[in-house]
Symmetry: C2
Subunit: 312 residues, 2 copies
């Protein structure tokens, strides 16, 4: 009997594909028996990405047929209809029926969801959320997004839009975000915004365009660790915003655990301590939860794509 699962991750700048046999899946996360990754050129569009991904998949499958395909997509997805709504990074993804396309291509059931929901599922099934029925996974990276597991199953919201913790407002007097609001979590806590604020704080504004100085959230964290007071204040402000967002989410939904992944979470103990402090201070005393690092790293969407095929 064929129990091969094909897991695909459309990651914005990177495509990943893996195959694994269902028999190899216990509660522990196994090693990938076969995995391919490929960076996409800056001018890649949806057609390019689709063709490249199908090539990776066929190389991995080597004439075998999968029993199911799970797909993580880095952008909004209409899960019930299996439809990619769009990509914020790559042209041409508007309303692509990715689920049906994959099902036809591989002649088996296919499942498509957005990367935050899929990563939440991955951490729940194989990572920091094993045995935890009610959790929120949050990625703190170039953006801030999230996915829920409630009652042991993904909670996607009425129209698949749940989990947008990055666009909750935690400081109406805060700086303006591209989304048009002031003081949303993403504006304060995401890597690129922290980098832009640091460049501005160091007086680089004017010399070169804001945020274009090549600085990243990682540079802010490194400088903060080295004692740069401006970098430290910006990093802590971001951590505080993330913590207030988590505390608010805890009061509203009362999950057992928040799992944080993404580049910014590598900023070290100073960042984690402030996130946890602000989250605890924001939540009611009787609202209990913990805040822990993700375990699956960049592979969370791929592992989640595997778990997605186990749903139903």
């Amino acid at each position: 009997m064929n129990d091969l699962i094909l897991a695909l991750d459309f990651g914005g700048t990177k495509l990943s594909a893996a195959v694994i046999n269902r028999d190899a899946l216990g509660d522990e996360r196994p090693q990938w028996p076969a995995l391919r990754r490929e960076f996409t050129p800056a001018d890649a569009d949806a057609a390019y990405e689709l063709a490249a991904m199908l090539r990776l998949a066929r190389e991995l499958l080597a004439e075998r047929s999968p029993a199911a395909v799970g797909v993580s997509f880095g952008g909004p997805v209409d899960f019930p209809r299996g439809l990619v709504r769009l990509s914020h990074h790559v042209r041409g993804w508007e309303n692509v029926p990715l689920r049906d396309l994959m099902a036809r291509e591989f002649g088996c059931p296919a499942f498509v969801d957005n990367d935050a929901n899929v990563a939440a599922l991955g951490e729940h099934r194989f990572g920091a959320g094993r045995g935890v029925d009610d959790l929120m996974y949050i990625t703190v990276s170039t953006g801030v997004g999230g996915g829920w597991i409630l009652g042991g199953r993904p909670w996607r919201g009425h129209a698949g839009m749940a989990g947008e913790i990055g666009h909750t407002v935690v400081d109406p007097a805060g700086p303006l975000c591209l989304c048009g609001k002031r003081g949303c979590v993403e504006r304060l806590a995401s890597g690129p915004y922290m980098a832009a604020d640091w460049e501005e704080g160091r007086g680089r504004k004017g010399e070169e365009e804001k945020g274009s100085g090549g600085m990243t959230g990682r540079d802010v964290a490194v400088a903060a660790a080295a004692g740069d007071p401006v970098a430290k204040e910006i990093l802590l402000r971001g951590a505080r915003a993330m913590g207030v967002g988590i505390g608010n989410a805890a009061n509203l939904v009362n999950p057992q655990r928040f799992i944080l992944g993404g580049g910014v979470t590598k900023a070290g103990a100073i960042w984690w301590e402030e996130v946890r402090r602000a989250a605890r201070a924001t939540a009611l005393p009787e609202v209990a939860f913990d805040v822990v690092p993700a375990m699956l790293g960049d592979d969370a969407p791929l592992w989640g794509a595997v778990a997605l095929t186990e749903q139903l």
Copy 2:
């Protein structure tokens, strides 16, 4: 066959009891065939309330036995264990096993949950949430609390604490709340706090203790409608806080509808417009929802208590 449902509401300052036959329950809300209400004296404790409620129930039942008892309690409840955690208004409710007590008393299954969850269920079953699977009910009254229906069922959170929208922070630079935080929704949007702010704004502070001038949220709304600029600003600030809280909740959980009840929601169009405007401005454009008035008024917990007996 006996299909009599006994519905009880322990409301802080008021006890309500009703009986209704299951046959009378369609999709439309019927009239109560039999209903009793009683105000409790200020010095009432848990023992007094229990005795008074049992008396009301026995008068209504008149020797008949109910098939099930649904109970709404105005305070935190451990739903799976059927345990009242405490009342913020009435002494002696700490860890009272109200579900088992009722089940023993009436010899039938009993169900106990907190008033916000129960009211959400009532509006879902009989009121403004009929046909809406994903909703949040919010009461804006002496406090601000909420309850979720997700996927057609109550979502209580990992430990029954979900729905605490009143204690989400929407302005970290805002005024201090009794809960120890600044700028939580309840501090800005609840009736007593708005009344206290208005008295302070009118320069009454010092003459008498803050908030003790006998003013209520209703007085603020009346004064705002009559053109008092301080009252209007306080009312709008409260509405804005409620709206930001709703917009944040929409981004996080993506329900289809928010149903608002409680005294403050009677403040008129100026209040509703600002709530809706702020909620819409806070939520992402692609996060759709509506914000509507509750339909069941003070009876929402009683109708929810009926619906609670239909769960499982």
